[in-house]
C-alpha cells in the first residue's frame, strides 16, 4: 500500500489514505444502487424501488453500468489490500473462537493483525462475488445476443447472478453492522482515515505491535 502523508490527531494512526477512502465510498455508492435496483428486479414486492429511482427501464439501463463501476472499485481495492489479506494460521484459530467475538469478549480472541479473519473473509467474499456477478452480469446485459445453442449460459447466469448477489447482501449487512454499529471507530476510520491507538491496541494487537514495536498486552 502506498503511504501518503496526512495529519492525524495525536494518539491516532492513519489506517486508510485518501485513495482507499475514495475507492471504498465509490464502491459503496454504486453497490447501494445495485442493491436497490437489484432488489426491484428480484421481487415484485420491491419493484416500487425502481419506480422511485426513475422507472424500470432506467434502472435496467443503469444497473449494468453501475456494476462496471463497482467491479472496477473492487479491483482497485484488491490491488490495494490483497497483500494484507493472506489467510494465516492465526486466522483459523480466530474462527474457532469466533463465539467470543460475537459475545464481545474480545480479550479472549487470538491477537489479530491489521485485519482479523472476519475482515479478510469479507474481503475475499466480495472479490469472488464481484467476479461471479461481473461474468453472469455480462450475459444478462445482452441476453438477446446469446445464440440459442448457448442458451445454457443464460440459464446459468440467472442463478449465479442471484445467488452471488444474495451472498453479497449477507456480507453487506454484516459489514454495515460491524462498521457502523458494533465496532465504534470503524466508520470514522473510513471517513477521516485515522483510528485511535486504543482501538488498534484492542482490536488489532498484531498491527499495534507492527506500528509501535510494543506488544499490545504485555501481561498476557
Amino acid at each position: 500500500m502506498s503511504q501518503t502523508e496526512q495529519t492525524v490527531p495525536a494518539g491516532h494512526v492513519l489506517r486508510y489514505n485518501f485513495k482507499e477512502r475514495l475507492t471504498h465510498w465509490v464502491a459503496a455508492g454504486s453497490y447501494l444502487y445495485l442493491l436497490l435496483t437489484g432488489l426491484a428486479f428480484w421481487s415484485p414486492w420491491c419493484l416500487w424501488i425502481a419506480a422511485m429511482l426513475g422507472g424500470g427501464q432506467v434502472s435496467r439501463m443503469l444497473h449494468p453500468w453501475m456494476g462496471l463501476i463497482f467491479a472496477v472499485c473492487v479491483l482497485i481495492m484488491y490491488a490495494m489490500w490483497a497483500s494484507h489479506m493472506h489467510v494465516e494460521e492465526n486466522d483459523k484459530i480466530w474462527f474457532k473462537s469466533v463465539g467470543y467475538y460475537v459475545q464481545n469478549e474480545d480479550e479472549k480472541m487470538p491477537p489479530a493483525g491489521r485485519y482479523n479473519a472476519g475482515q479478510k473473509s469479507l474481503f475475499w467474499g466480495f472479490v469472488v462475488c464481484m467476479v461471479l456477478l461481473l461474468l453472469s452480469g455480462l450475459v444478462l446485459w445482452f441476453p438477446e445476443n446469446i445464440p440459442w445453442s448457448w442458451r445454457y449460459l443464460r440459464y446459468a447466469a440467472v442463478l449465479v447472478h442471484a445467488s452471488s448477489a444474495l451472498l453479497t447482501i449477507g456480507l453487506f449487512l454484516l459489514h454495515i453492522y460491524m462498521g457502523v454499529f458494533a465496532e465504534r471507530g470503524a466508520l470514522d476510520s473510513m471517513v477521516h482515515g485515522d483510528v485511535p491507538l486504543n482501538f488498534v491496541k484492542r482490536y488489532h494487537p498484531g498491527w499495534y505491535k507492527e506500528i509501535t514495536g510494543q506488544p499490545a498486552s504485555p501481561k498476557k
Partner: protein, 298 residues
C-alpha cells in the same frame, strides 16, 4: 396488446391477486397447425406483417424455402423449412409455421420481473405489454421455444399476440384467415385437439404415416398452438421443435426455492443483527468488566 375486452388471469412481476383470475367462465382458444397440409406459401407471414403493421426488414436467402433464419422482433410468424431424408432415401419437405406457442404455463411470464409486462388472458393468450417492458430480456431466458425478441432500438421485447386484438372482437387471427390450404384452424382448445386427433388418425390409417400425432407438450402445461406432425416422435425434424419443452429448471429454481430462501435469509439476517445489538451492544474500545443485574423485577 388488447385488454379492452379480454380479462387477465396471470400477470408477470405482480404482487398480490390478479383482477381477472377466477372471475370469468371463458374457454381457452387454440390454433391448430396441420404441417402435413402446409405448402410453405408464407401467406400467413404476410398476413401477420400486414395486420400487426410491423415494419419491414431484409429477408435472408439461405438456399431453402425459408424467409430468414429465425423470427424477429418485427417478424413474429415464420415458416421453418427442412428437407428431410427418410430411411428409404426419399425426401420430405417439412414446413412448420413457427410463432409463440402461448403456453398454459408460460416461461416468459414466470421469468419476467416487471409488473404487467406479460399477461395471460383468461382465454389463454399470452401477450406482451411493451409499455411495461423494462428490456431485461429475462423472458428470452424463460422461453423454451426461442420466441421473444428484443427491439434493439427501444429495448422492448415483442412476439406473436395470437392477434389478441382480433380475437377479443370475435375474429380469428390474421394468419388463419390467410391460409389457402386450410392447414390452419382456430377455435376452442377442446375442438382443436379433437380435430387434430382425427387428422392424426387419418394420417396413420389412410396415408401411411404410422407415427403421425399431435404436438401439445405437457411440460409447459399444454400450448395454445397445437401441431399435427407426420412423425410426432421426432418433432426436432420440424425446425428444431423441442420434443419435451419445459421452463428451464434454473429459472424455476431462481423464481421458486431460491427466492424464498433468499428472502428468509435477508429478513432473518436483519432481525438477527438487531437482536444481537440489543443483547450484546457495540464493542468497546477500552477494557470491559462484567456487572450483575440489580433490577427490582424478579
Amino acid at each position: 396488446m388488447s385488454q379492452a375486452t379480454l380479462r387477465v388471469q396471470k400477470i408477470s412481476g405482480h404482487a398480490g391477486s390478479v383482477p381477472g383470475d377466477d372471475a370469468q367462465r371463458e374457454y381457452t382458444v387454440c390454433k391448430l397447425i396441420d404441417t402435413t397440409t402446409c405448402i410453405g406459401c408464407k401467406a400467413c407471414e404476410v398476413a401477420c406483417m400486414e395486420w400487426n403493421d410491423l415494419p419491414f426488414g431484409e429477408t435472408v436467402f439461405d438456399n431453402t424455402y425459408q424467409t430468414m433464419p429465425e423470427t424477429r422482433w418485427n417478424y413474429w410468424n415464420l415458416i421453418l423449412f427442412n428437407e428431410h431424408e427418410k430411411e428409404d432415401g426419399s425426401l420430405m419437405w417439412l414446413m412448420r409455421k413457427n410463432q409463440c406457442m402461448h403456453c398454459a404455463d408460460p416461461g416468459c411470464l414466470a421469468a419476467c420481473p416487471s409488473d404487467g409486462a406479460i399477461v395471460q388472458y383468461t382465454n389463454g393468450i399470452v401477450d406482451f405489454q411493451q409499455a411495461n417492458c423494462i428490456g431485461c430480456g429475462y423472458c428470452i431466458t424463460g422461453c423454451p421455444f426461442d420466441i421473444p425478441k428484443m427491439n434493439p432500438k427501444t429495448n422492448r421485447v415483442f412476439k406473436c399476440t395470437l392477434c389478441s386484438d382480433r380475437v377479443s372482437e370475435g375474429l380469428e387471427p390474421a394468419c388463419i384467415k390467410s391460409c389457402p390450404t386450410g392447414c390452419l384452424h382456430f377455435g376452442s382448445k377442446e375442438d382443436m385437439k379433437d380435430l387434430a386427433e382425427k387428422r392424426a388418425m387419418q394420417l396413420r390409417t389412410d396415408y401411411n404415416f404410422p407415427q403421425a400425432g399431435v404436438y401439445d407438450p405437457a411440460g409447459v402445461g399444454g400450448t395454445g398452438v397445437v401441431y399435427v406432425l407426420h412423425d410426432a416422435t421426432k418433432p426436432e425434424l420440424y425446425g428444431g421443435l423441442p420434443s419435451n419443452p419445459s421452463i428451464p429448471w434454473s429459472v424455476r429454481l431462481w423464481k421458486g426455492p431460491l427466492k424464498w430462501l433468499g428472502n428468509a435469509a435477508m429478513i432473518g439476517g436483519i432481525l438477527g443483527l438487531v437482536v444481537h445489538y440489543l443483547r450484546f451492544g457495540p464493542k468497546e474500545r477500552e477494557e470491559t468488566i462484567k456487572q450483575p443485574h440489580e433490577g427490582a423485577e424478579p
